[in-house]
Structure formats: C-alpha cells, structure tokens
C-alpha cells in the first residue's frame, strides 16, 4: 500500500459491509474517477434529451434521464453485490458466464418474439418493460474466460493451438453471434482486447501476426460478402461525399465536437445536438455532446479520468495474487477503458462509426449495469489484494525465479522445449 493511501486511509470508505474483506480497501482513486464520470454522464444524458423539439411536442424531457437513473441504481446495487464475490468464485463461474452469454445471444434469434430490434439491429431480449443486451454480458464473460484460459495455458501460451486456441474458438463463436445482430463495435472491442491480452500473456510475435492477418482476411471476406453491413466502416474515409447519407451522424458529431471550442458552450447549452442534428447523441455520440458542452478541456479531463481507471487497474493487477486475477483485472480494466477510447475515436472520425457506448457516460441499460459490475469486480480484486493477510503474505514473499508449471499444458510445453 502506498504512503499516500496510508496517509488518507482514515478517509477511505469502510469495507465492513463487504463479506470476507479482511480489512481490504476500495481503490478510492478509481472510485472517484468512476463517480465523476457517472455524474458528468448523467448531466450530459439529461442535456441530450432536453430538446426544444421534445418540449414543443409535449414529450417528457426527463424520460431518458429517469431510465438512466433507474439503470444506474440497478448498476450500483449490482456493484455492491459483486463486491462480495471473491475471486475464487469468479474463477469458478468464468466458463459458465460465457456459456450463459452465448446461450442468451443465441436466444435472440432462436426463441420467437424474444429478440427486440432497434436501429436495424437485433441486440436485445425483451424482459417486460425493459430490455436486456446479452452482448454486454458476453464481453464480461469473454474477459473472465480469457483470463482463466490464459492463466491455465500460461506455459503453452506461445503455442497457437494449445495456448490461444480455446480463446480464439470462443471469440469466433461470439463473433458469429454478434455479427448476426449486427454488432461490429462489440466484435471490434473484443478483438482488440483479446489481442492485447495475448500480447500481455507473452505469446509469440508470429502468433500475433497470424491472428492479425487472419482477422484482416476474415474482415475482407465479410466486407465483400456483406458490403451493405460494412459500408459505414469506411465512411470516415470519404465523409465529405456522404455527409447527407451514411456520414450524416459522423458529420454532425464532428460539428458538435468542434463547436465546443476550448471550454465548451456550457452544460445544457449545446445547440447543435439539442436541436436534433446528432442522432443517438445520448449513447453512441455522448463524447460529441461532451465536446460541445465542455469543450476540449472537458473532454481531456474526462480522458484523464479514464487514464486514472487504467493506471489504477494495472496497479491492482500488480497487487493481486495469481495469474487468473492479474489477467482478469487487466482485462476488466481494458473492458472499461478501451470502449471509451474507441468511442472517442469514432466521434472524431478516426475509427469506423459502429454503435459503441462510452462506459459510465452514455445512456444505456445493460451496458451501464455491466460496466458497474465490471468496476465492482475490479474493486473486489483490490479489496482482496489489500486485505491485511494478503498484504503480509505479499510483503513476506521473496522474489521468485522460474516457476515451472504443474499442469498438463505446462508438462507438454516443458517436454516440447527440452526436445
């Protein structure tokens, strides 16, 4: 625990309500960053729905805000619940979670009247007055599965089939189900995340090249096979020609971002988005709204908050014990930060426009809940890593040298190496 943490320990939230916390602490920096993002996000979501057109038409300008707050409340509840789930339980349910996600993704198409279509995509399951987006759960499930798989196959991680094969198969399965929706954004995030996890795991460079080339070929095949579905991927390249068609959203997102200037037009003062020129401003283009209302300075501050989440996540990964925990914390952190970066890239026209919400800031039911669950899991890992007995063990443990693997994969690897 750092000196800073010790000095301000008395101000930290008590963790007595958390089961088996053993004196562990919440990561206060990450918590503050997330709370700030949630507050700013809520204000921006409110701003996007406070449109003169809605007011003039007699609509409820608070409709989205109310739903956003409801889901945030559910998310916070879920956050508190997952704080009580130890990493060993998580390790045990990682496979099951992915399996459930895959089943739910399949149920969208297989169970009649269950899938809900919106904006040319069938991504949701109907649950009474609410809808549930299984792809968000699938992301969480995939990260935990990836962490478990890599931890299990650490010794053979440089072998394409044995080390990376299971994760690639899971990714392939998810890709098929997600592209069917279609949800290219989620596939993109999961793909990048998987490659980063492989990189962190220390797989060979040829494996990475193989995955990249294979992914590129697969992408080209899909572009040729379904040009209509992938047309928007290339929109940023010829935005001027399609500013009234495919590029309409992006054109106006850039306009919103640019109009904010250095310090923005003020919260609730973003004229361009509030006059309805930016469709899906409350979810896919919330950063454009932030740019218009808070300016370059505001967006930079928000990005600093995501950087804080990333840095604190990696710091937690350093503290936690075991490969699964390290991969899981890193993966979960990237699951929060990566979409934010991609989201900003999309809003700036640097990445293809694919519906991807910004964690903690965008309006979104399932995504908001899953993001808070993800954040809760990271915090649980932090609690366990900072528990008094864990601290003692961590400090007492001498630096280790080579740690031969005892599992089957490790034995095969050792045999292969010695051969």
């Amino acid at each position: 625990m750092s000196a800073w943490s010790v000095k301000f320990r008395r101000f930290w939230p008590r963790t007595g309500f958390i089961a088996n916390s053993r004196g562990g602490q919440l990561d206060i920096s990450m918590l503050l960053a997330v709370v700030t993002l949630l507050v700013v996000g809520t204000l921006l979501v409110f701003s996007t729905t406070l449109k003169p057109g809605i007011v003039a038409a007699g609509g409820d300008p608070y409709f989205n805000l109310k739903r956003h707050l409801i889901f945030m409340g559910i998310g916070i509840g879920a956050f508190v619940v997952v704080l009580n789930i130890s990493d060993s339980v998580l390790n045990a349910i990682a496979h099951s979670l992915l399996l459930i996600s895959i089943i739910l993704l399949g149920a969208i198409y297989l169970v009649p009247n269950l899938g809900v279509t919106g904006g040319n995509s069938t991504r949701w399951l109907a649950l009474g007055p609410f809808t549930f987006q299984p792809s968000e759960l699938a992301k969480l499930g995939f990260v935990l599965y990836l962490a478990k798989s890599l931890a299990h196959n650490q010794a053979v991680v440089h072998r394409f089939v044995y080390g990376l094969g299971p994760a690639l198969v899971a990714f392939g399965l998810l890709t098929v189900l997600l592209l069917r929706q279609p949800d290219v954004g989620s596939v993109m995030v999961l793909g990048i995340l998987m490659i980063l996890m492989f990189l962190v795991a220390g797989t060979g460079r040829w494996n990475l090249w193989a995955i990249l080339v294979g992914g590129a070929i697969g992408f080209l095949i899909m572009v040729v096979a379904w040009p209509a579905k992938f047309q928007r991927v290339f929109t940023p390249l010829y935005l001027d020609q399609v500013s009234h068609g495919e590029g309409y959203q992006l054109t106006h997102a850039i306009t919103s971002l640019v109009l904010g200037g250095t310090f923005g037009q003020g919260l609730g003062q973003g004229a361009h988005h509030s006059l309805g020129f930016l469709p899906a401003s409350h979810n896919d283009f919330i950063m454009a709204v932030a740019g218009e209302e808070l300016g370059l300075f505001g967006v930079a501050c928000l990005m600093i908050l995501y950087a804080v989440i990333l840095i604190r996540g990696v710091a937690t990964a350093r503290l936690v014990q075991g490969l699964f925990a390290k991969y899981a914390v890193f993966g979960l952190t990237m699951l929060l930060v990566l979409p934010a970066i991609v989201h900003l890239g999309v809003n700036l026209g640097l990445l293809p426009t694919k519906g991807l919400v910004c964690p903690f800031m965008s309006y979104g039911g399932t995504a908001q809940v899953v993001n808070l669950v993800t954040f809760g899991l990271i915090q649980r890992f932090h609690i366990e890593a900072t528990a008094e007995d864990a601290q003692v063990a961590f400090a007492a443990q001498p630096p280790k040298t080579v740690e031969p693997s005892t599992d089957e994969g490790g034995r095969i690897a050792a045999a292969w190496r010695s051969a």
């Binding site: 449109k51 962190v200 795991a201 220390g202 006059l275 991969y327």
Partner: protein
C-alpha cells in the same frame, strides 16, 4: 545522479515486486500495453484539438446554415374606414397558412408534395416543383379551413408547419373595390435576387483580386468577379398593388421586423423574439372622405343603368360642392378586392374599352369629353371676356364646318331664331360652341385649359392616374383646334377632373385638389389625426363661375312647353344644374362607329349646391343620347343622396305640374 537506465531498472523491479518471474514479465507487458493505450488516448485528444483549430469556421458556418432561420414579421396592416370612422372598408384577420420554412436535412420533396396535395386540393407536381426552389421560405397555401389544418397537422411532415398569417379582408366586398385596391403575394420575378457586380477598382482591398479574376476568365471562361446578391422581398411577402392600399402603403403597412429563429433537424422552428415585438410593428389606420351610404347609392344607380342601357361600363364621382371632398367614387364593372384575381389576372396590360374591372375608370379612363366640355368653353370664355351669356351669335346654325368636318346640332333652332351663348349652352349647340371656341382663339383657349388643369393630372392620392395626351405638351392650338375644343373634342380629360371643374363652378371659381384620405389614426392610440385638405386653386373669376353656374341651372331647370317633359336629368325633389355630353369614343386614335360616351356633370340643389356629380356611361346601346342614357342616373342620385346629406326635399315636379 542516477542514470535513466538505472531508473528504468528500478521501475521494473518495483513493478515486479514480490511477483514470480512469469508474473513480473506479464506485469511488464501490461505496463507496456497501458503506456500504448495512454499514448493512443493522448493522440486522440491532440487530434481533437487540431480538428477544432482547423475546422471551427467551416463547422460554425455549417451549424449556422442548418439552424439559423429568419422570418420577416410584418405587423398587422392598418384598417381603412369611411369618413364617419365607423364603417370598416378594409381590415386584417389572422388566418392559418401552411408553409415550408427552410428545407430540413431529410426532406423528401416528392413524398411531401403528394401527401399534401390531397388534403390541400393542389396539384402534386406543381407543389413538388415549388419545393425545388432554393428560397428558404415557401408559402404553400393560405386561408386554410379547419379540416385542412387538422389534415396537415396529422401528416406531421418535417419542415411543414402551420402559421397564422395576416390576411387582408374587405368586408363590403366590391363597394369601393377599385378605390381601395388590393394586395397580393410577390411574384417570382419580384422575389428574384438582385445580383450586383462589385466594382473591383472601387476598393483597394478588392483590387488585388483583379489579376486572379482576369486569369480565371481567360483560362476557363468563368467570370469570378465578386457579386453582391440581395433580395428585396421574401417569398411570402405581400405587396400592395392598387388603389389606396398602394398609395398609402407606407402608412398602412405594419413595420416589418426580421425575427430570428432556430430550426431543429426536423424543420421545427423556435422563435428567438418575443410577442411584444410583433405588436409594436402594427400599421396605422386611415379615414377616407368617402361616405359609404352615398357610395352605395352611386354604385346601385350606375350598375342599374349600365345594365339597363346595355353599356360596356360606367363611372361616377360625387363631391362635396362646398369643399370638394370626394363623397363617392364608382367604377363599373366593380372590383372585389377579396377576389381580385378574377378581374385583374388576365386583363392587365390590355387596352381598356371600358369593361375592365381592374381599372378605376374615374382616374384611369381619360376620354374626349364632348358636350360636357361646353362648360369648360364657357368658363374660359367668360373668364377671358371673349363673350357674355347674352352675347348673340348671328348666322350660326347647323350644319357647320370645322375644317373639313361637317358638324351638326342634335337640337336645332326654330326658323328665324338666333343663338345666344346661354341658349346655345341649353341646346348644346356644337356649331355655336365651335364659334365660341373660335372667338376665344387658340392661344387663349390653350392657356385656359392649362389654367383649369384640363388634360393634366389632378394629383389625387390614387396611383395610376391617366390623362391621355397631356395638354401641357401642346405648344399651340390652331383656330380649327379651338373650334373643336369648343364643343369638347381634341383633348382628353378624366371624369374626376370634370367633377373638380364643376366643383370650381360651385365654389366660385376655386378648383379643389382631390384627396381621398382625410384622417389617420395611429395603431397605438385612438386619436384621429386630421390630414389637412390641399389648398384649392383659383382657376377662373368668381363672376365667370357664377355665369357658368347660371348657364348650367338653365340647362336643367328650363320650363318645358305644355305637354312636354322636363329635362330627363331634372331631379324630382330638388333643383339642380348640369350639362350633358355625348362624345364619340376614340380608342387608340380612331373613332369607333356609333359608339359614344354619354356623360353628365352637374350639381344640386341649384341655389345652394351641396353635391357635385359627374357620371359617364360607356357605349350605351339602348340610348345614345346622354340626356336619356345618363340623365336619369343623375336625377336618381340627387334625389337619394341629398336626403342623406340632410337637405330638405321640395316636390319640384309636382309643383310645376300643378302650376
């Protein structure tokens, strides 16, 4: 000093902590990936800053183009009242209209046109064509019914909205229509932008572009000279077209104000101004000198007699004989300003043969006056002393020659009788008045006509006054011209001018200047501001005026021989004076065969004149003589108007009959 390498090594050791070697390696790679991610983040933020710097102007322009709208708010137009201040001749009501303000981002012109065409009963292709215009405001249809409003609202087409526009309404319909005029929407020509080529040499700042502009023109043929484009009117503006509406447009028109609006992506508009601004821009109201009750009498009589005589048209004007105020002004066929298109749509620009309802014939139909001009000859002659009422005219009789033209009188003298000026006037002898014209002489006759303002514009506050050939353009008048002018040929005048000259007779030689508007009421107060009458001008001596007045009384009030009828123009209830006139119609320089204008100018009562009346029936088919054609109109008008003016009636005809 610790080297960078040593610092890096320490960092690696700190990262590794007490983790195993594998875990430490994983952590090192995690930190690498984190740094990479953070660098991406920083790159995106820098890129964002660069984007702002490079595109701020272009994007701000794009935003302004998409959202900024301006609507010209024109305040409520002022009302028009009659001289009593109670009877409204023209007013303004708020009516729903369907408009397209700015073309929204996703506006499907064809779909919108076909959807709107059904409930609005319009041609979808014409509608679609109108949507192609680059204009930011398109007025689709006005004065919608409740059903049309609800149908359009139900369609909910982006950009199409219902607005409430001021609509000019004339509650008395065709009463005074030609005097009031009308308003109509600007035409596509009027709304077209005015392109003004800027002179590059005029400004030192612009001069530097001359070589570039010249090069472009030489290489590509494209003229790149900067142009200033201005638009005088908005496409849904209303312009006053005729009558009082046009001549007093500055007073009546509500002050216009550009009201800023913002449009959302669906074309819905949100005003940036307040309602008070709109109220402040209302126009002023005006009062006309016209009395609606008298006007109704005049209209009724002219319409009835035009129909009875099967004439092409008719016109008449009634003045206050003491002040010259215009009490009524009628032009038949009547114009209904509520439906001006029917009258003014196709006939504009054609030669008016008297049947054009769009023209106010009282001021826009100059004609050769014929025998009513004998009043003018007498006025000039008495004024210059060329003759007196009792002056004998020996040897003058019908037929006679004016140049090579053979002239004859309709009412000849008995054998052995000799004309005097007075009897020649009563008998309306052309030969006698040709002689009198000769006695006045060309020079004095021309000077007299100019002094009387014959063949010149009266200066009435109505647009489009026409005078035919201006008398002032003539430098000389020959003896033959003077003879012809003596009985009313060779020059043109309008019926309003003849009425004013008759008023000069009743006003002892002072000719009033006509003015229809006598008062103004500001939009923000009830106080009436009286507009002073223009100063009248003496045109003949008092003595000459009284002599002419007596001639005119004798012409109407003569006692018939036993068993014969009175003059057809002689009122039943009042004494009167006047002069009839039948003149051949000259259209486009040629006299039309057997086509005549039958006119009458007169006043009543004879002793103390109250009203002056001037009337013309154009080409009556039943009776070609003015006394029979238009005389009864005068008679009926006098008998009905003088009671309205509070003049007690005397049963003249019965009294004479008993005697």
């Amino acid at each position: 000093m610790m080297g960078v390498r040593e610092k890096f090594r320490r960092l690696r050791r700190w990262i590794a902590g007490s983790n195993s070697q594998t875990e430490a390696e994983i952590l090192h790679r995690m930190v690498g990936v984190t740094v990479l991610t953070l660098l991406t983040l920083v790159f995106f933020v820098i890129k964002f800053g660069a984007l702002q710097k490079n595109e701020i102007e272009a994007r701000a322009t794009q935003h302004a183009h998409a959202t900024k709208r301006a609507k010209t708010i024109v305040g409520r137009r002022g009302d028009i009242y009659d001289r009593t201040g109670n009877k409204i001749l023209a007013t303004t009501s708020l009516e729903p209209a369907v408009v397209l303000r700015g073309v929204p981002a996703y506006f499907d012109r064809k779909s919108a046109a076909y959807q709107l065409a059904v409930p609005l009963d319009m041609d979808p292709e014409r509608l679609q064509k109108s949507f192609q215009t680059t204009s930011e405001n398109i007025l689709i249809k006005e004065r919608l019914t409740e059903q049309e409003v609800s149908a359009v609202e139900k369609l909910g087409i982006s950009g199409i909205s219902i607005e409430h526009h001021y609509h000019r309404f004339y509650p008395l319909e065709n009463l005074l229509g030609s005097v009031l005029g009308y308003l109509s929407v600007v035409t596509s020509e009027e709304v077209a932008p005015v392109i003004e080529v800027l002179d590059l040499n005029s400004e030192p700042e612009l001069a530097k572009w001359i070589p570039l502009v010249d090069s472009l023109r030489a290489i590509t043929g494209y003229d790149a000279t900067p142009k200033k484009v201005t638009r005088k009117y908005q496409p849904d503006s209303y312009l006053a077209r005729k009558g009082i509406e046009l001549s007093y447009d500055d007073v009546l028109r509500g002050r216009s104000k550009r009201l800023g609006q913002v449009s959302d992506s669906r074309g819905r508009l949100f005003p940036l101004g307040s309602a008070e601004d709109v109220l402040l821009t209302a126009g002023d109201s005006i009062l006309l000198s016209v009395d609606v009750d008298i006007q109704m009498v005049l209209d009724e009589q002219i319409e009835a007699h035009v129909k009875a005589q099967d004439a092409r048209g008719g016109m008449g004007v009634i003045l206050d004989a003491k002040t010259g105020d215009i009490l009524a002004m009628s032009s038949y066929p009547f114009l209904d300003p509520n439906n001006f298109k029917a009258a003014c749509g196709a006939t504009s620009g054609q030669v008016d043969d008297g049947s054009n309802a769009c023209r106010n014939k009282v001021v826009e139909f100059p004609f050769e006056p014929g025998s009513i001009a004998k009043m003018i000859t007498a006025m000039i002659g008495f004024d210059v002393g060329a003759f007196e009422p009792g002056t004998r005219l020996p040897g003058v009789g019908s037929p006679c020659f004016v140049g090579r033209n053979r002239v004859r009188d309709t009412h000849g003298l008995k054998k052995g009788e000799e004309y005097t000026v007075s009897s020649a006037f009563r008998h309306s002898s052309n030969c006698a008045f040709a002689e009198l014209g000769s006695r006045i002489g060309g020079k004095r006759f021309l000077e007299g006509l100019i002094r009387l303002g014959v063949g010149a514009k009266t200066g009435i506050d109505l647009p489009g006054e026409r005078i035919g050939r201006a008398i002032t353009s003539r430098t000389r008048m020959t003896e033959i011209d003077a003879k012809a002018a003596g009985y009313g040929y060779g020059y043109y005048t309008s019926i309003i001018n003849m009425a004013l000259l008759t008023a000069a007779v009743t006003m002892d030689g002072v000719k009033p200047k006509p003015q229809l508007v006598i008062g103004k009421r500001s939009h923000d107060s009830d106080n009436l501001e009286i507009i002073p009458r223009p100063k009248p001008q003496r045109v003949i001596s008092k003595r000459a005026a009284r002599q002419v007045k007596q001639l005119m009384v004798d012409a109407i009030m003569w006692e018939p021989e036993k068993g014969r009828a009175y003059h057809p123009a002689r009122p039943k209830l009042y004494s009167a004076a006047g002069k009839t006139g039948t003149a051949r119609i000259n259209l486009g320089g040629n006299y039309t065969q057997k086509a005549y204008n039958t006119s009458f100018v007169g006043f009543a009562p004879a002793e103390e004149p109250e009203i002056v009346v001037a009337l013309t029936l154009i080409d009556p088919q039943k009776n070609k003589l003015a006394a029979q054609a238009v005389g009864p109109v005068f008679r009926a008008v006098v008998d009905r108007v003088l009671p309205i003016r509070g003049i007690e009636a005397v049963e003249l005809e019965e009294a004479h009959a008993q005697r």
